[in-house]
């Protein structure tokens, strides 16, 4: 592989719920997504970092792909500023409401359009939906072997990946031939921050829907165009995506821990501990 590896990293923009905001909830009790700053899903950043580290050692190109609304271009710009070579926004109003299955179908079509790929990297799961499904479903649709939840990429040689993953009761070392798909655990590495030189250049990168289709040729000539693919570009029919293409429906979302139950404060004394133990015993907890 003298020409290096062809690596694609899938990223998703998610709300950063660790930030305190004035109105975390909407009046109907659902999470007020717009109130939180948008970030790249933390696991996905580790996937990007893994891709960049592999490129540094083995050479090649790292493409980042994100499906989302036009604002998801911000996440792709962030990736370019951290060192990704190319960015593709998968964006179409018909994609809105897609569940993990429809998302995997759309991403699989994007991978086919990209062409030959050696390695697809995804985060283990997103910080909003917490499903961890898109990676495995994408691997299945593309007929690729996969290794999920990896904590360490041990080697990538002679057309094979060797990775370590931690399971409930064991640690496994798994080998898979290229091309394959890996999902990466947070903590697998420490993602790099934006590079000042790259940021100077790529802060001006734009996707067509961000500029209402204006000046696309100039952006392309300067290497600042974020590719954008629609359902038509990918040959995705309306019934395969969005709500229509999604077999699961979220009926409603209720906030839980934000609406706090009353906490009992226990004094740090022997009498306090005695009370605590009696309360726990009375409730059948111990």
């Amino acid at each position: 592989m003298a020409e290096g590896l062809r690596i694609v990293v899938c990223v998703k923009q998610v709300p950063d719920l660790s930030v305190k905001v004035a109105e975390p909830l909407r009046s109907n009790g659902t999470i007020n997504r717009a109130a939180f700053p948008a970030i790249i899903n933390p696991d996905d950043l580790c996937a990007l970092e893994m891709g960049l580290l592999i490129r540094e050692v083995r050479g090649g190109r790292v493409k980042v792909v994100s499906m989302g609304p036009p604002t998801a271009a911000e996440a792709l710009r962030d990736c370019l500023c951290r060192g990704a070579d190319e960015a593709i926004l998968i964006c179409d109003s018909r994609f809105a409401g897609s569940d993990t299955f429809a998302t995997a179908v759309i991403l699989a079509a994007a991978m086919r359009r990209i062409g030959s790929v050696d390695l697809i990297l995804c985060g283990r799961q997103t910080a909003d939906g917490d499903t961890g499904q898109v990676g495995p479903e994408l691997a299945g649709l593309l007929g690729l072997p996969q290794i999920t939840r990896i904590s360490e990429l041990m080697s990538i040689e002679r057309g094979h990946v060797l990775a370590r993953r931690n399971l409930d009761e064991s640690t496994q070392i798994v080998e898979a031939p290229l091309p394959c798909l890996l999902t990466v655990n947070r903590g697998a590495n420490l993602p790099r921050i934006q590079n000042a030189r790259l940021t100077g250049r790529f802060k001006k990168a734009r996707a067509p829907s961000e500029v209402q289709g204006q000046g696309i040729e100039q952006l392309r000539q300067k290497g600042l165009l974020i590719e954008e693919w629609s359902a038509d570009d990918l040959g995705i029919e309306s019934h395969q995506c969005g709500i229509e293409g999604s077999p699961t429906r979220i009926a409603m979302v209720e906030a839980m821990s934000v609406a706090q139950s009353q906490q009992v404060e226990i004094p740090a004394t022997e009498a306090g501990m005695d009370d605590l133990v009696r309360m726990l015993a009375a409730k059948g907890i111990i």
Binding site: L17, T30, D99, F101, D128, D130, T131, Q133, G135, P136, E137, G140, P145, I147, T148, R149, S151, L162, N166, L167, D168, E169, S170, T171, Q172, I173, V174, E175, P177, C180, N185, R186, G187, P247, T248, R249, I250, A251, M252, V253, E254, A255, M256, S257, V258, S261, Q263, V264, E265, I266, A268, T269, E270, M273, D274, L276, V277, M279, L280, A281
Partner: protein
């Protein structure tokens, strides 16, 4: 639209069928009342696992007759079994293996997947599930639209009330190709199985950076022994090398929902809360009254843990 069959994916550990899987059997009966419950074995050690499964109270055990070496192969084998036996819901325990096989199977069968559910209820002709999202900060009610679907159930969300039985074992021919087993496990280090597995424990005592040093875990262990609880840890404590990664609770570690979770010297960042906020009762000890762990705690003790934990351990010993 009654569901006639419910398949449950069997995982076996040193103690028999895993507790989370036994709880998934309970969930299967809730999701598909009156359905025939079929235990499905598709693993590397099929005969031994089928023997363990046959001691469950299920209609029958169906065992893939091929050795299954990867999650993708397991999904293909289960898909073939489901196609041969007839449509039904497929229920997995939300273990690290179940969490990997389930999406492969859902994709293979073209079915919706509802992962990591904490409750299920039949409402009219649909099943409504509840599952935590946003790292446990919110709960989503999810309704699969297809007649059959795949679901994984969070450990301890359902009771293990399976009685022992003597189920017949049926071998099913499955065709797996080399392509299905391309990802291979080349080495496996099993951890000490005499300890209580964290995700399956009724009570957990976890330690964090507030312990100050590795030896501080002796406090955690003493309280855990008194409670007959498993020992957990925050990511920071694992990164510091104080305890093994298999004990890590949180978004990058394990998700637990024991009856009692005691957090000692854990600040309780959202990543940690994601792994434990669905515990039924949370007791937190921390010097810092502003520590986020107190936002999810039912009982909070603002104190130096070295002064208060020995007192608590003694009081527990009196009642246990």
């Amino acid at each position: 639209m009654a569901i006639n069959r419910a398949y449950v994916y069997i995982e076996v550990d040193a103690k028999g069928v895993r507790r989370t899987v036994r709880q998934a059997l309970t969930a299967a009966a809730v999701i598909a009342p009156g359905a025939e419950i079929i235990a499905v074995v598709a693993s590397a050690k099929g005969d031994a696992d089928a023997a363990a499964a046959s001691m469950l109270k299920v209609a029958k055990v169906v065992q893939a007759d091929a050795a299954v070496a990867s999650s993708q192969a397991a999904a293909k084998a289960i898909a073939q079994i489901v196609k041969a036996q007839g449509p039904g819901v497929v229920v997995f325990g939300n273990t690290s293996l179940g969490r990997e096989v389930a999406p492969c199977l859902a994709q293979e069968l073209g079915l919706p997947l509802v992962p990591d559910v904490t409750s299920a209820q039949v409402v009219g002709d649909h099943v409504e599930f509840v599952r935590p999202i946003y790292a446990g900060k919110a709960m989503a009610k999810v309704k699969p639209l297809a007649e059959t679907f795949v679901v994984t159930t969070r450990a301890n969300a359902f009771l293990d009330n399976n009685e022992s039985g003597a189920a017949p074992v049926e071998k099913a021919t499955v065709a797996l190709t080399a392509d299905d087993q391309k990802a291979k496990v080349v080495s496996l280090v099993q951890r000490d199985t005499t300890k209580i597995e964290l995700t399956e424990a009724d009570a957990i005592v976890s330690g964090g950076m507030g312990l100050g040093k590795a030896e501080g875990f002796k406090q955690v262990e003493a309280l855990a022994d008194a409670l007959r609880a498993a020992v957990g840890a925050s990511r920071a404590a694992v990164n510091a090398g104080w305890v093994d990664h298999t004990q890590q609770v949180g978004q990058t570690g394990k998700t637990v929902s024991p009856t009692l979770y005691v957090a000692l010297g854990i600040s309780g960042a959202i990543q940690h809360q994601a792994g434990m906020s669905s515990s039924k009762c949370i007791v937190a000890v921390n010097k810092d009254p502003e520590a986020p762990i107190f936002q999810v705690a039912d009982y909070g003790i603002v104190a130096d843990l070295y002064s208060v934990v020995p007192l608590l351990t003694e009081e527990i010993k009196k009642v246990k």
